[in-house]
C-alpha cells in the first residue's frame, strides 16, 4: 500500500465513524441472518421513516454539543410548539395545506430557541441548567397555560401531509407494504443545509471554534454570544419542525409522548463520535449513531428479543460505544505524550 493510503487509513482508524459503521453493519447482518427480514425493502423504508424525527433532533443536538453546550429541552420545546400549532389551526378550523403549520411551528420554535439562546448566549449561564429549566417551563406552559389534552384529530392539511408518500415499498415475500413519507425530504434538506453551514460558513466554524476554546474564539474576533444565540434559535426551529412532522405522521397529537427522548438522541450523537465536551464530531457520525439506536429500538424484535429488553440493549450500546470513544481519546493522549518525549530525546 502506498504511504498516502496508509496515512489515510491511520487517520480513518482514529475516527469514530468507521467503528460505528462496522457495529451498525454487524448488527444489520445479525438481524438479517436471524430473521431474513432486515434487508427487505419494506423494513429499510420503515427504518428510514422511523429515522426522520430522531434524525432531526440529532442534528440540533449535534450542533449544540459541538459548540460545547448541551440541550435537554428539545423534546419539550418540540411538544409545546407542535401542540400549540395544531391546537391553533384546529381552533380557527384551518382547511389549507401543511405550509402554514410548518411556518407557525418554525416561528414558535425560533421564539423558544431564542429563550434558551438568550440565557445561554448573552447571560452566559450553563447550558445544562438553562435547558433543564426551560424544559420544565415549556412543559408547564403546554400543560398549564394551554391546558393540553390529547388531540385525536389534526387539521386536514397536516393529515394529508402525514400520509402522503414518496413511494411505497412492498415486501415480495410477506406482501407487507411500507410508505416512504414525504417528510423524509425534510430530514435530507435540513441535513444538507446544516452540513453546508457547518463546513462552509464562518458561522459554522464559529460553532466548532467555540466548542474548542471559547476564550480563543472570543480573542479571534468571533462574536461568541451572538453565535450561540442564533444557534439555539436554529436548534429550536429544527426541533420544532421535528415535532410538527411527528404529529403529522402519527395523525394525532399526544402532548407528552416525545418527552424523555433527549437521552437516546444525545447518546446517539455521542455514540457517533461527537466529543461530549465540544469541538469535535461530524454530522455523518451523529446520523450513524442515531441510526444505530433507531435500529436497536425498532428491529430487536426481529431477532426475537422481547421489547421489554430494549432499554437494556440501548443502555449497553451507549456504555460500550461511549466507552470506546473515551478509550480512543485516552490512547491518543498517551501516544501524544510518548511522541513528545521521543522528539525531545532526538534533540
Amino acid at each position: 500500500m502506498t504511504s498516502i493510503g496508509q496515512s489515510y487509513l491511520k487517520k480513518l482508524s482514529r475516527r469514530n465513524e468507521p467503528y460505528v459503521f462496522l457495529v451498525l453493519l454487524a448488527l444489520c447482518l445479525l438481524i438479517e441472518i436471524r430473521s431474513g427480514q432486515f434487508f427487505s425493502s419494506n423494513n429499510l423504508v420503515d427504518i428510514s421513516s422511523a429515522m426522520i424525527v430522531p434524525g432531526l433532533f440529532a442534528i440540533g443536538a449535534f450542533m449544540v454539543i459541538v459548540s460545547g453546550g448541551i440541550d435537554v429541552s428539545f423534546p419539550a420545546l418540540a411538544s409545546l410548539s407542535a401542540y400549540a400549532t395544531t391546537k391553533f389551526l384546529l381552533d380557527i378550523q384551518y382547511e389549507g395545506n401543511v405550509f402554514l403549520a410548518l411556518v407557525i411551528a418554525l416561528a414558535i420554535g425560533a421564539l423558544l430557541g431564542a429563550f434558551n439562546g438568550l440565557f445561554i448566549g448573552y447571560f452566559k449561564l450553563p447550558a445544562l441548567i438553562v435547558t433543564l429549566g426551560s424544559s420544565s417551563v415549556f412543559k408547564g406552559v403546554m400543560q398549564g397555560a394551554l391546558n393540553s389534552k390529547q388531540l385525536t384529530t389534526i387539521p386536514v392539511g397536516m393529515r394529508e401531509f402525514g400520509v402522503s408518500s414518496l413511494f411505497i415499498a412492498k415486501n415480495p415475500v410477506s406482501g407487507l407494504t411500507s410508505r416512504m413519507p414525504v417528510a423524509f425530504i425534510a430530514l435530507v434538506v435540513v441535513l444538507a443545509i446544516v452540513f453546508v453551514m457547518l463546513k462552509y460558513t464562518m458561522f459554522g466554524r464559529a460553532i466548532y471554534g467555540i466548542g474548542g476554546s471559547e476564550v480563543s474564539a472570543h480573542r479571534a474576533g468571533f462574536r461568541v454570544e451572538r453565535t450561540k444565540f442564533i444557534m439555539y434559535i436554529l436548534v429550536g426551529m429544527i426541533a420544532s419542525l421535528a415535532g410538527i412532522i411527528r404529529t403529522c405522521m402519527m395523525q394525532q397529537n399526544h402532548p407528552t409522548n416525545m418527552l424523555g427522548m433527549e437521552m437516546n438522541i444525545i447518546a446517539g450523537v455521542v455514540l457517533g463520535g461527537t466529543l461530549i465536551t465540544g469541538g469535535r464530531g461530524t454530522l455523518l457520525g451523529s446520523m450513524l449513531g442515531t441510526l444505530l439506536i433507531v435500529i436497536v429500538e425498532n428491529s430487536l424484535i426481529l431477532i426475537g428479543v422481547p421489547t421489554s429488553y430494549k432499554s437494556v440493549f440501548v443502555g449497553a450500546l451507549i456504555i460500550v460505544g461511549t466507552g470506546m470513544s473515551a478509550y480512543q481519546v485516552m490512547r491518543m493522549n498517551t501516544e501524544k505524550r510518548t511522541k513528545g518525549r521521543r522528539k525531545e530525546a532526538v534533540r
Binding site: 460558513t201 464562518m202 474548542g212 476554546s213 474564539a217 479571534a220 474576533g221 466529543l275 469541538g279 491518543m332
Partner: protein, 494 residues
C-alpha cells in the same frame, strides 16, 4: 533602533478598590525587544490589556504609530498592528493547523463563507514567514507547546503587525525551544517589528531584551537598558526586598544514611542508580529532560515500580511499590506539575493542606474533628505564611508561589522523614522562590532529608549540599556544590 512606536503617557487604571496602574509612562520603538517584568499582581497584565485595547484607561493617553488615542478598542489595536500572544496561545485545539492559522485574518476581513482553498493559501503564506514546518492538516491539539506557540506567532504576523506582545512565552518550553523562539524573535526584530516580552525569568531578560521595564504594585520602579541590570538590582526592583543568596550549609549531617538506593534499574529510564541521603542534608538531582531524573523521582515515591535494585531506609530494606508504601515510609513528593498532580484547585486552601493527614483528624466513628482541623490549617497557613485572607478560599485563587506553599504544607503536616521536590520553583516568582528556598533550608536544619530535582542550576547550587548529575538514566557525577560551578555541571549533563 527605529523611531518611537508606542508611547503610553500617565496611564491610570483602577478596579474596584485596587489601583492597578498608577501614572505609568511607557514607551517602545520599532524593532525594539523590550522586557516587561513584575511579580504577580504588579499590574503587568493590566498594562498589556490597556495597550491592546481590552481595558480603557481611567486617565492618560496612548500614542501609537503617530496617532493619539484616549482609548483603543481591541479591533482598532489589531488594525493598527498590535498583536497579543497570550500564555495559552488562544488556539483551537480541535481544529486543524490550517484553520487555526487562517481563521483570525478571515474574520478580520469579515468573510462570511469559508473557502478551503483560500484558507490553505493563507496558512501556507503565514508559516512561510517564520519558516515554520508543520503538517497543515494536523489537529493543533496534537502538537507540542512550542509548535502551538509557533502557530500563534505565524498567525499574528498576518496583520501587518508592528508590535507583538508575548505574555510569558517561555513558561512551558524546554531550553532548546526557548532558544529557537529567541531566534525567531530576532528575525522579527530585523523586520522592524517591536516585541514586548513579559517574563519574570532573569536569564531570559538578559539574553534577549535590549530594554526592560519593571512594575511593582502598579508603578514603574525601574526602566532602562538591560546592560545596566544585574541579578541583585533585578530582584530588588521586582520585590522591593534585598536578597542575599545564601548557600545552604548543613549544620549537622548524620553519619548513617537515612535513605539509600542500591543498583536501581527501571526499563530504559534508569540504570544502576545508587546513592545515599543523610538526615539534615539537601541532595540535588539534575540532568536534562530525558536523563531519567523525573523517573527516579517517581520511583522513589512508589509511582513507578523498579525492575531491579533495593531501597533502604535507616539501614533496613524497604519496598516502595506504590504511593501508599512511600507515604507509609514517611516519604513525601511535590510533583513537577503542582497544578494537575499536587493540588485540588477548586477546593479550599485549608482542605488541600490537611488532605494527606485527614485520617488523623477524626473523632469517634471517623467523624471530622472540626476544631482539630481548623487548628491544623491555621498552624500551617502561618508557618509557611500563605498569603490569603481566608483558608476557605479556593486554591486556584492563589499565585504560583503560594500554591507551592500549600503543597509543601500538605506534606509537612504528615511528619515526613524524606521530602522529594521535583522542580520546586517552576513558575514561581522571585520573592516566593526565595521564601520557598528559605523554608526548605530551614526544614533540612530541623533534620528532614530533602531531595530537590531541578534543572535550574543556580537553584540547586544555592540550596543543595550535594548534587547528583544524571545522564541517559545513569548518575554520571556526584558533586560537592560548594566547590563547583554551573559550567562544570553543565559539561556533565551534556
Amino acid at each position: 533602533m527605529g523611531e518611537k512606536l508606542l508611547n503610553a503617557l500617565n496611564i491610570d487604571k483602577s478596579f474596584v478598590g485596587v489601583h492597578a496602574l498608577n501614572q505609568v509612562n511607557f514607551s517602545l520603538s520599532s524593532g525594539e525587544i523590550h522586557c516587561l517584568a513584575g511579580e504577580n499582581g504588579s499590574g503587568k497584565s493590566t498594562l498589556i490589556k490597556v495597550i491592546s485595547g481590552v481595558y480603557a484607561p481611567d486617565s492618560g493617553e496612548i500614542e501609537f504609530n503617530g496617532r493619539h488615542y484616549q482609548k483603543m478598542t481591541p479591533i482598532e489595536a489589531i488594525n493598527q498592528g498590535i498583536q497579543v500572544i497570550y500564555q495559552d496561545f488562544s488556539v483551537f485545539p480541535n481544529l486543524t493547523v490550517m484553520e487555526n492559522l487562517a481563521l483570525n485574518s478571515e474574520l478580520a476581513d469579515k468573510r462570511k463563507w469559508v473557502n478551503w482553498k483560500r484558507i490553505r493559501e493563507i496558512a501556507e503564506e503565514s508559516v512561510k514567514k517564520i519558516n515554520f514546518k508543520v503538517d497543515l492538516d494536523a489537529l493543533v491539539g496534537s502538537l507540542s507547546v512550542a509548535e502551538k506557540q509557533m502557530i500563534a506567532i505565524s498567525r499574528a504576523l498576518m496583520f501587518n503587525t508592528k508590535l507583538i506582545i508575548m505574555d510569558e512565552p517561555t513558561t512551558s518550553l524546554t531550553k532548546k525551544e526557548v532558544h529557537r523562539l529567541f531566534e525567531i524573535i530576532l528575525k522579527l526584530k530585523e523586520q522592524g517589528i517591536a516585541i514586548l516580552f513579559v517574563s519574570h525569568k532573569l536569564d531570559e531578560v538578559f539574553e534577549i531584551s535590549e530594554r526592560f521595564t519593571i512594575l511593582r504594585n502598579g508603578e514603574i520602579v525601574g526602566t532602562g537598558s538591560t546592560k545596566e541590570l544585574d541579578q541583585k538590582k533585578f530582584s530588588y526592583y521586582m520585590t522591593g526586598r534585598e536578597f542575599n543568596p545564601s548557600h545552604f550549609i548543613p549544620e549537622h549531617i548524620e553519619k548513617d544514611a537515612l535513605f539509600e538506593a542500591r543498583n536501581i534499574s527501571l526499563e530504559k529510564h534508569l540504570r544502576n542508580i545508587s546513592f545515599e541521603l543523610h538526615k539534615g542534608e539537601i541532595l540535588g538531582i539534575t540532568g536534562l529532560l530525558d536523563s531519567g531524573r523525573s523517573e527516579l523521582a517517581l520511583a522513589m515515591f512508589g509511582a513507578k515500580q523498579i525492575d531491579e535494585g533495593q531501597w533502604y531506609k535507616n539501614g533496613e530494606p524497604v519496598r516502595l511499590d506504590s504511593v501508599r508504601d512511600a507515604i507509609g515510609q514517611n516519604i513525601g513528593y511535590v510533583p513537577e506539575d503542582r497544578l494537575s498532580e499536587g493540588l485540588f484547585l477548586p477546593q479550599s486552601i485549608g482542605d488541600n493542606i490537611i488532605i494527606s493527614e485527614i485520617d488523623k483528624l477524626t473523632k469517634l466513628f471517623g467523624v471530622m474533628d472540626k476544631d482539630k482541623k481548623e487548628k491544623e490549617i491555621d498552624h500551617w497557613m502561618k508557618e509557611l505564611s500563605v498569603a490569603s485572607p481566608l483558608a476557605s478560599n479556593a486554591c486556584q485563587t492563589l499565585s504560583g508561589g503560594n500554591q507551592q506553599r500549600v503543597v509543601l504544607a500538605k506534606w509537612l503536616a504528615c511528619n515526613l522523614d524524606i521530602l522529594i521536590l521535583n522542580g520546586p520553583t517552576v513558575g514561581v516568582d522571585i520573592g516566593s522562590k526565595h521564601d520557598i528556598h528559605a523554608i526548605l533550608q530551614n526544614l533540612a536544619r530541623q533534620g528532614l532529608g530533602i531531595i530537590i530535582i531541578s534543572d535550574d542550576l543556580p537553584e540547586v547550587l544555592e540550596n543543595c549540599s550535594r548534587l547528583l548529575v544524571m545522564k541517559n538514566g545513569e548518575i554520571v557525577a556526584n558533586i560537592n556544590t560548594s566547590t563547583s560551578d554551573e559550567k562544570t555541571i553543565y559539561s556533565y549533563m551534556l
